[in-house]
Structures are given as structure tokens and as C-alpha cells.
């Protein structure tokens, strides 16, 4: 009755938009968790007519676990360790980011129209969402200063790439693409861990210099 695909896609777009406008890093991580779950739910909903083998089902469940729980969990831990609560001075402000989001979606609709791919029925919105998510991820990486926000932008970009894969394939031999996606995820996980360590180093440095400044006076 209610078209579940479209609802999932709209929720993905909602999370993209909210993450462009949010200045709290904790909220950003929550949006990413929501987006991850939705992105990994999508293939299940798309392929409701053709059967997915039990292997495929397990695969998608693992993906929900990784995208919805593991990666946001890692980010959460990273945020807990680092004391930063919010992005203070983004390179492009929040109002402008929101407006850029609007332009991004316009452009991605235009691109979808112009590409004229022979998409399966009802996947035009999927491709639009995918391109929007990708470009918004790029935008987030470019326009924020904090390393952790840039990683979130990278994750969003990766979600978008995965969505493009889902939109274009008919899931006949998807296993490779999905595996590739998960590989990228793991890569991001490693990156996050690197940032945790890096940031801890940074904070200790900062504390040290503060102490030194105070001593000087």
C-alpha cells in the first residue's frame, strides 16, 4: 500500500539535510546511524519480488550491523574521548550549507534526467537520492574543519556510492559490489580509529601548551 522504497529514500534525504544543518557532532552521529540503517535496508525492499537467498539476507543483516551500529558506535567512542562537542567555525556556514543542499538536490535531479539511463521502473528517485547523498558528502568534507565531521562526510559519500550501485544493478551478481562497499566501510573504521589516536595525541599536546602558557605568566 504505502510505498516503502520512497519512504526509505525520503528518510535518507532527510538525514542528509539534517546533517548539513546540524552543528552538534553527537546529533550528526545519530543521523549517520539512521542513514546507515536506511541505506542497508533499501536493497531488501527493492528486491521484494525477486528472491534473495539466505546468504544475501545474512549479508544485508551484517551490513545493517556495520553501518547502523558498529561505525556510529566507533564515532561515538571517538567523540566521547575527544572533548569537542560541536563544530565551531565551519568554512561554510549552516544557512549556506542548507541552501547548498537545496542546490545539490536540484542539480542531481537535473543529472538524473540528463543521464537517461534505462533504469528499472521506479528507481529514478533512488538515483537522485544517491547523487544527492554523494554530493552532500563531498560538500560536508569540504566545508567543515574538524576531522571527525570530514569522516562523516566520507561515510555519507560512501553511502551514496552504495546507493548508486543499488540503483543501477539488477542484483544479479551484486555480491562483488556489496563486498566492495563493506570493504570501504572497514577502511573508514580504520580511519576513525586513526583519528581517535591522533586526537588523543592532539588533546594532550593542547593541554601541555596551556600549562606552559600559564607558567609563563
Amino acid at each position: 500500500m504505502i510505498n516503502m522504497n520512497d519512504i526509505v529514500l525520503v528518510i535518507i534525504l532527510l538525514s542528509v539535510l539534517l546533517s548539513l544543518s546540524s552543528n552538534r557532532l553527537m546529533a550528526l552521529v545519530k543521523y549517520m546511524a539512521m542513514q546507515g540503517v536506511m541505506v542497508s535496508l533499501l536493497p531488501l525492499l527493492l528486491e521484494q519480488h525477486s528472491r534473495i537467498g539466505s546468504g544475501g539476507l545474512i549479508f544485508f543483516q551484517v551490513m545493517i550491523l556495520i553501518k547502523g551500529v558498529l561505525i556510529p558506535g566507533l564515532l561515538y567512542i571517538a567523540l566521547k574521548r575527544v572533548v569537542i562537542k560541536r563544530e565551531i567555525e565551519p568554512i561554510i556556514g549552516y544557512h549556506a550549507s542548507l541552501f547548498a543542499g537545496l542546490i545539490i538536490i536540484l542539480v542531481s535531479i537535473f543529472i538524473t534526467e540528463r543521464l537517461q539511463l534505462s533504469l528499472p521502473q521506479g528507481r529514478e528517485l533512488l538515483l537522485t537520492t544517491a547523487i544527492t547523498t554523494m554530493s552532500a558528502g563531498f560538500f560536508l568534507m569540504m566545508s567543515r574543519r574538524k576531522a571527525i565531521t570530514q569522516v562523516i562526510g566520507y561515510l555519507m559519500l560512501e553511502n551514496g556510492i552504495y546507493l548508486v550501485g543499488t540503483a543501477l544493478t539488477k542484483h544479479a551478481h551484486t555480491i562483488y559490489i556489496v563486498e566492495f562497499g563493506v570493504l570501504l566501510d572497514v577502511l573508514v573504521g580504520v580511519m576513525i580509529m586513526g583519528i581517535i589516536l591522533n586526537n588523543i595525541n592532539h588533546t594532550f599536546d593542547d593541554i601541555d601548551t596551556d600549562h606552559l602558557n600559564r607558567l609563563k605568566d
Binding site: N3, V10, L14, Y94
Partner: protein, 305 residues
């Protein structure tokens, strides 16, 4: 006849629902909270009192409460509460009605400026600013609805031939509309993330500071008007979430009046869970709602060709 009963019920019950918000907030704070009928007691108390008018005010000051309350009552007359056809309806009534609400706001602001109190002037400026931003979102919603239904009246939106519902052609987009309409509701009715109805510091008030000089029956009218306005926005959201079938007749009424309290519970939850924004963050909040709807309006290009 049905329509008249519905409207009468709505007018009677509207002051009950803000009590629900208070109850929810009290439950979250671990308190017992005021009784559910608290707003009726407040209204009765205010109506028993007399009004005090400052000698420096003119007739504009007395006009403010009347006009704002009448505007809020009028919009309910045009709204298909619970899927029952409204008393009045014509093509294009949505635009008229939102501007009638605007007139109400205009008179509240003029009344506030009429007192010549600096605090009230400050509140009036803020109210005008945020109201302008919220109006943009509302009209973006109307544009979207026009694209979806081709109609411009509340009754066509909700009980017409091509009424909007979540399982329609572009139904998924309504999710964006619901989120954005809830943000507009919080802004327009001066609820917590934007304004705090329980604040006691004039510098931080928006709506409350404008009505500081009103007393007695005037204050009761203002309160009543704000209850009706809140009721209208909640009904708007609830009808989008859960469209009613006009064929069910009076059976819709209990469902509607119970269901709408869910919206109020949601408001209560938001108010308990959030602190209010800094003043400079409020425009971002309102603009987010505008962008959400614009998103949806752009996306209709995909659905409706």
C-alpha cells in the same frame, strides 16, 4: 449539522489539550503536574476579573486580543476536522485563512507596540521576524499541496477527490512535510525550542512579553486564541498523518479528538527533551523547515510528471 457539532466540540475541547502538554512535561520531571482542566480554570478566573487599561494606550490595544482570537476561531471554521466537511469552504480559502492568522498577529504586534513599553517592542520585533520566516515555510507547503492535489482549499486537501495521504503517488514526501509542519507549529505557537511559554524573564520572551500589559478578559481571549491556533496546527498535522474517510461519518470524531492528543503528547515530549535555542539559532531552525518543504517540492518533479 455534523459540521456544527464538530466545530462546537472543537471550540469546547481546545483548552483541554494544552493541559496534556503540561501533564507530559510534569511526568517527565517526576512531578504530579496540574490537573488536566487547568486551562479551563485559568480562563474562568480571568473572565471573572476586570481589565486594566493604561492611560497611554488607544483603541488599538483593546482591539488586539479580539482580532487575534477571532482570526484563530475563523480558521477552524474552514478546516475539515476529523474528515467532516467544514462549514465554509471555497477555492483558495487556504491563502485567505493564513493571512487572517497574519492579521491576528499584526494586531497582537500593534497592541504590543501601542503600550510603548520597550520590552514589548522587542518581543514584537522578534515575533514579526520569526513569523515572516514561518510564513515562507507554510506557503512552500501550500505550493507542494497544490502540485499534489491541484486544489487550494482545506476541504479539497483532506476530503476531496484527490486528497493527500501517505499512500498516494507522492506520499513519501509527506514525511518531509510532517517534520517541517511540526517545526512551524513549534515556532508559530511559541513552544519550547523557539520560545518558552513558562519563562519569567522579559529579555528572553517572545510571545509572552507582548501580552504582559493585557489583563482579565483580554488575556483570556488571547489565551483562547492561542489554544485554537495550536489546535488548528495539531489538527493539520494529524490529518496528514492519518487521513479520514468522510464516509465513516460521526465515527471519525472520537478517533480524531483522541488522536490529536498524540500531537500534543509529541509537543510535550519535545519540550521535556529540549532546551530552547539561543535567539540567533532560531532563524536556522525555521529555515530548516522551509528547506525541507522546498526539498519535497523539488522532488515532486520526480513523482508527478
Amino acid at each position: 449539522m455534523e459540521s456544527f457539532c464538530t466545530i462546537a466540540l472543537a471550540f469546547l475541547l481546545a483548552p483541554l489539550y494544552p493541559g496534556i502538554i503540561l501533564k507530559v512535561k510534569a511526568l517527565f520531571a517526576g512531578k504530579k503536574g496540574p490537573p488536566l482542566l487547568i486551562k479551563y480554570y485559568t480562563l474562568l478566573k480571568l473572565l471573572h476579573k476586570g481589565s486594566v487599561y493604561s492611560t497611554s494606550t488607544t483603541f488599538v490595544f483593546r482591539l488586539g486580543p479580539l482580532v487575534s482570537c477571532a482570526g484563530a476561531m475563523m480558521i477552524l471554521l474552514f478546516f475539515p476536522l476529523g474528515g467532516i466537511s467544514p462549514i465554509f469552504s471555497f477555492h483558495g480559502d487556504v491563502i485567505v485563512l493564513f493571512y487572517i492568522l497574519g492579521i491576528g498577529r499584526f494586531f497582537t504586534i500593534s497592541a504590543a507596540l501601542d503600550t510603548a513599553s520597550p520590552f514589548e517592542g522587542m518581543g514584537a520585533a522578534r515575533e514579526a521576524f520569526f513569523g515572516t520566516l514561518a510564513e515562507a515555510s507554510i506557503f512552500a507547503i501550500l505550493i507542494l499541496f497544490y502540485r499534489m492535489t491541484g486544489a487550494l482549499s482545506f476541504s479539497d486537501y483532506f476530503i476531496g477527490a484527490k486528497s493527500i495521504s501517505l499512500d498516494g503517488t507522492a506520499g513519501a514526501l509527506l514525511l518531509l512535510v510532517i517534520v517541517s509542519l511540526f517545526m512551524v507549529l513549534l515556532t508559530e505557537n511559541s513552544r519550547v525550542p523557539v520560545d518558552d511559554p513558562a519563562t519569567h524573564l522579559e529579555l528572553t520572551m517572545i510571545h509572552e512579553v507582548m501580552i504582559l500589559d493585557h489583563s482579565g478578559p483580554d488575556l483570556a481571549l488571547i489565551e483562547l486564541g492561542s489554544f485554537y491556533k495550536l489546535f488548528f496546527y495539531s489538527a493539520f498535522i494529524f490529518l496528514i498523518v492519518c487521513p479520514f474517510n468522510a464516509a465513516w461519518g460521526l465515527f471519525n470524531l472520537p478517533v480524531f479528538f483522541v488522536g490529536i492528543s498524540l500531537v500534543y503528547v509529541a509537543i510535550g515530549l519535545v519540550e521535556s527533551g529540549m532546551a530552547r535555542f539561543k535567539m540567533n539559532l532560531v532563524p536556522k531552525f525555521v529555515l530548516t523547515s522551509l528547506i525541507l518543504v522546498s526539498f519535497a517540492a523539488i522532488l515532486t518533479m520526480e513523482f508527478i510528471k
